[in-house]
Symmetry: C2
Subunit: 300 residues, 2 copies
Amino acid sequence: MSLIVVGTVAYDSVETPTEKRDRIMGGSASYFSLAANFFTDVSLLAVVGGDMEQKYLDEFTKRGIDCSGLEIRPDEKSFYWSGKYMVNMNDRETKETQLNVLATFNPKLSEEAQTIPYLFLANGSCDLQLNVLKQWRGSGLCVADTMNLWISTQRPQLDELLKQINGLVLNDSEAIQLTGETNLVKAGRKVLEMGPKFVVLKKGEHGVMFFSEKETYALPAWPLEDVVDPTGAGDSFAGAMMGYLASQNNLDSDTIKMALAYATVVASFTCEDFSWNRLLDLDLDTINDRMEQFRNIVNF
Amino acid sequence: MSLIVVGTVAYDSVETPTEKRDRIMGGSASYFSLAANFFTDVSLLAVVGGDMEQKYLDEFTKRGIDCSGLEIRPDEKSFYWSGKYMVNMNDRETKETQLNVLATFNPKLSEEAQTIPYLFLANGSCDLQLNVLKQWRGSGLCVADTMNLWISTQRPQLDELLKQINGLVLNDSEAIQLTGETNLVKAGRKVLEMGPKFVVLKKGEHGVMFFSEKETYALPAWPLEDVVDPTGAGDSFAGAMMGYLASQNNLDSDTIKMALAYATVVASFTCEDFSWNRLLDLDLDTINDRMEQFRNIVNF
């Protein structure tokens, strides 16, 4: 294994301006691992309840995604999130969150997992992220995601986390909240000063910016006309990015930009259907076709 | 002359969260012509009052910008706009507009001007834009800008204009207003159906999208950390784009993308200082240096 993700495998209920889906497959580690798996071997560390259908778990194993770190608690329920997207499909409101198994999730990296070179800490409490990071001694990169909740409730732990990770992935509103800067370039560079060697600032339909001490990169989003369900776009963005970086095992500027472009393309597919459905029938050839089109759209 | 712009030469008062400037040089045709002039010969058609200082007009002539179409009305006052930028430097509110000379502006293209191949109709009433278009018989392109006011008050004239022009330049909120679509890709393509052969959809700090029947291009903005004054960024974007297109005199995809990239870069310089100040001391070498950096930021 070259990449491990610690995150959630969960159920979502999603409402868009035109459609509604109840208890569909979701979770950061689900999207992440499927996206990463196009590029590299990936292992997932998560916990589910007895309500998680076997057919969903089979989707991981039949792709070779390592589920040895997936804990199943038969008498409990899986993490559940329910939300509603606004007309613009960018803003959303959370209607309900049931932590369930997540309330007592205390991830332990196995002996083997501790040395997996690339680690992604999907969005989760900073306490949990720090706890995983303490166990890890991989030779590659550790990158974390975060969200508004932890920025406002676990700031000391987040500050500590930022000093220990190689990269942070966050979205525009989180970057503004974390830094107090409304200019996103300023915000991105200010996050750098907090510790990470690089910052990936996602802007949804407006693309992505990458900041490191000496580098700045920016890409627009893939021009997607019909956004069916943006849930998991950020997680599959991170999955494709980390998967590609792990497969190349370097941080050359060309590699970084390719990783951002692959991430953009894979995230765009995720938005084309509910849940992880579009990722299930996707293959690398189709991804590479869109990469070529994306290159034509962007490069000058 | 290969390019003519019909627009305003005016005074602005600008307030940003940190600074304030009274009666500084402004106007769509001012920014446009300075930006276009880096790439091609440009002629401006506008009207000013006797209050327009000669030193400002000299800036046009000493760059070889043709001012034979600049009408001066000694007993009247120049168009005046005053506005205030919000903390994010993207949103602004208009505090005052004094039409002055603009109230009776009825632009006439000279015999020579009628055959200038590239025409840009800067933001103005659709009646005025249609009237200019009727006089023009250039062999190149006619591109127009518009704004929320005309979309809501002159919709029949705007619909007519859209059928007659080759390209429309507008920003994201205008595209949403014009089409009723909140997805910008959908909005851009819907504008195409209204008549123009191409649509340039500007998104400020988030870059630009280009749509034609068979092409879609997208670029992020230049990552600008210190936005001093965004006034005129859109007009200088259009100026650089049209100036480059006129200089190449074709609409190949590579030319279009280079035009959008030059437009992005020149607009970024405009934001670095108040009024047109940064454009005044800019040269093509400096623009080309930033183009190379931009290419490195964006291309993968």
